[in-house]
Symmetry: C2
Subunit: 458 residues, 2 copies
């Protein structure tokens, strides 16, 4: 049977496929907020039912946090594991959404139809591209393609705390020949992209404690240590005037961008002006001496993700608060070691505390090194050809600024290489209000997986 | 009739007087939050009823915000105006309160009995000392003392937006011979204090806008301008390494502390170690070269009262937020001009904005200069003697770190000097969780006003 029949079936299925995705998007499976625990269970149950319907032997597997979904189809050829995550980011600030985030809809935009809603791009829409490829394949060929394991998690947006123990406990079941991961974006619209390197991540959060209690800024303003001011000084000390992180030893393990990478990336279709413009920026604000693409793909960062203390309500309050709080993430590249970096960051902060101040660290936050793929595997070339056929444009091996720790753990725990192919676009507003996924991404994504499976499945 | 009879009556009335105060404390008259508008009305109504019961001709006077209370008693002698405010500060963070803030109670502490609850010290307990002095006077003498005007406002904790228009519109009614203000504290427990100078205040709030939307820290971390980082840098630039405010021209109009002030203040009973220790501090953190008392009373400040942006919820969110927010107050001394200072502060901030960032200023926030009293008036000496008699300790003329703009406006609009006497203590936790007022302050405060009225009323 020719691949064309499967592709045609994907085209015919699109309306029904979109409705299936909408059903999944209506489940508010926010993993980081315990209030949505039951919704995460519901999303896992829905996927088990969907996979069972497709002919997989599918199970929900309990975890201390949110459950995993594991499904198997025995077949010929290499054992391919497909990974995605069904959990989504929080939706605040809710006021900036143009529609309720969990009431998805198709919208017409200047760039074509989009599916609007939280999780449409990250990662429910992406993972459904693979299931829709499987569905069409089954409908045309009477069986699922090759030898497949499906592995979905529900804690990707909250640091995957259950993932490592689960992989150790289920090593033999999950250690396949190659992982396929659909959680990345295209370098620019219409340019099929395979991720060759991903940044790692270190998460930190601390509270700076100053006065014993909140103080009146008249009675104590002047003599009092102000935690908001002290925290601001510490944050300001994290970078030098060139945008470089000023923590001692921060860049240990970083690999400079090679001439070959610069050459490849110059021709990958990345539109720096459009990328910056989408975010309302006219220049790249990172380390001087690096392009926006290099700053995003190949350079480490230290970002403040949350900062708060004192009075935030209506009007004014003359308070000097007892505490100030900050959430930090660092993006890691090359061989940077998260545990070592955590020590350096904490030492930097603690060396800058004034007398009468102390700091308490959140001890529940994780980290993962960067992941650098073995792009010499033959499946990489097969996927490049499949993607080039579908998108009528040569596929490129790119870097990725985001962190997908799973790729690192697949290699370190399961000894499994990964092939990362995704169809998201940079304007999808993932993690932001009004997240969307292009219908074109959803449709051609499913077609792309069918073509890839046609080349690498048994 | 001797003053002793009035003082004895105050002693006898204490249990009933405390219950009257508790009734007022149960009304959550938070002026800065529109949700409590009806409660502010209720507090004003309660005071009108109380004043009417005392024999005053009392009225609630409407205002665009919360109403004023004005009451008159015609009598002999100079027309004395007594001022207080019935509104209170917000109560957050509520979790730090040991009891519901608007369910007041008497508590036994190591330092004696206290009345615990929001507003107990600032200012409901203080204003009730005057009404209880009037009540005992009336009960003993059959009439209220002298020639009295009572003037209560309900917007003191939210910048008194209606105050200036109201004073202009009711100039003749309010322009008395002298104002008595009870909204200050004693320099140390048991040391009766008259405030000779009060710091002014300038309020500011701004939002720093960076990216057009919230961004993903993987896709944009590095190239993106991070408003939390930029705001922290601006805040860090407000002070130099010696604790001095680094805004150009900030100290214009400041008067250096005189040798005579230093001499007086050295003997005013201020316990620097206890003052700092109460706040959990071991050193004064303000401008180098000034004592804690000078930093509090005679030096201007710039304090951060609120700071926020990005994700504050449970867990981690890899976001670069579009905005960051800060609330600022400056305390002013000498001849510092709030309008001029506002221009300088804004210029300082705007000169430090990176490309692609902009700032929007809250335009609703007010300012008031410092107030320096005419302590040569004979009522000051009379009050000093009355207070010294009551507290068995020489009363002192002190500075005050807090801002009571009313004293400035009484002079500038009504041409009226003010005598500021208060019985609060520095450990009253005003504006903080677990606010209290010593029963001793409440009791001896009423006795003090009776003695002062005995000397200066007709």
């Amino acid at each position: 049977m020719s691949i064309e029949a499967v592709l045609n079936r994907i085209d015919e299925n699109l309306p029904a496929a979109t409705e299936r995705l909408m059903t999944l998007l209506r489940i508010p499976s926010i993993s980081t907020d315990p209030a949505y625990k039951a919704d995460c269970e519901k999303a896992a149950d829905w996927l088990v039912a969907e996979l069972t319907d497709l002919g997989f032997k599918a199970e929900k597997r309990p975890a201390p946090g949110h459950p995993f979904v594991v499904a198997r189809h025995e077949g010929p050829g290499p054992n391919l594991l497909f990974y995605g995550h069904y959990d989504v980011q929080p939706v605040d600030p809710l006021t900036l959404w143009d529609r309720p985030p969990f009431e998805p809809a198709i919208e017409q935009t200047a760039n074509g139809e989009v599916i609007r809603g939280r999780g449409s791009s990250d990662d429910k829409g992406q993972l459904m591209t693979f299931l829709e490829a499987c569905r069409a394949w089954k409908e045309v060929n009477g069986t699922l393609p090759g030898n497949l394991t499906i592995f979905f998690e529900g804690e990707e947006e909250s640091g995957s705390p259950s993932l490592i123990p689960f992989m150790h406990a289920n090593h033999d079941e999950l250690a396949c020949d190659l992982a396929l991961i659909c959680d990345t974006s295209m370098v620019s619209p219409g340019v099929p992209s395979i991720a060759g390197q991903l940044r790692g991540m270190l998460k930190e959060e601390f509270t700076l404690h100053g006065p014993r209690i909140d103080l009146h800024s008249g009675h104590y303003g002047g003599p009092a240590l102000n935690p908001l001011r002290e925290l601001s000084k510490i944050i300001a000390s994290f970078h030098d005037d060139t945008g470089r992180v000023a923590i001692e030893g921060f860049y240990d393990g970083v690999h400079e961008v090679t001439a070959e990478q610069k050459r490849q990336w110059a021709n990958c279709g990345f539109d720096e002006k459009a990328y910056l413009g989408h975010a309302g920026m006219t220049v790249a604000h990172g380390e001087q001496g690096y392009s926006a693409l290099e700053q995003q793909w190949a350079r480490p960062t230290l970002e403040i993700n949350g900062l708060w203390g004192g009075y935030q309500g209506t009007g004014s309050k003359t308070v000097i608060p007892a505490e100030a709080h900050v959430k930090i993430t660092c993006r890691l590249v090359g061989d940077m070691d998260p545990a070592d970096l955590r020590r350096k960051l904490r030492a930097h902060v603690e060396a800058r505390l004034p007398v009468d101040a102390r700091v308490s660290w959140d001890t529940d936050l994780d980290g993962a090194p960067a992941a650098v793929m073995d792009t010499s595997r033959p499946e990489y070339e097969a996927a490049r050809q499949a993607l080039s056929d579908e998108w009528n444009r040569e596929a490129v091996i790119v870097g990725m600024g985001g962190s997908i720790p799973i790729a690192y753990y697949f290699k370190s725990i399961l000894g499994m290489d990964a092939l990362l192919v995704g169809y998201a676009n940079d304007d999808d507003a993932i993690h932001s209000p009004n997240e969307k996924y292009d219908v074109k991404s959803f449709h051609k994504g499913a077609r792309s997986w069918a073509r890839i499976l046609d080349r690498i499945a048994g």
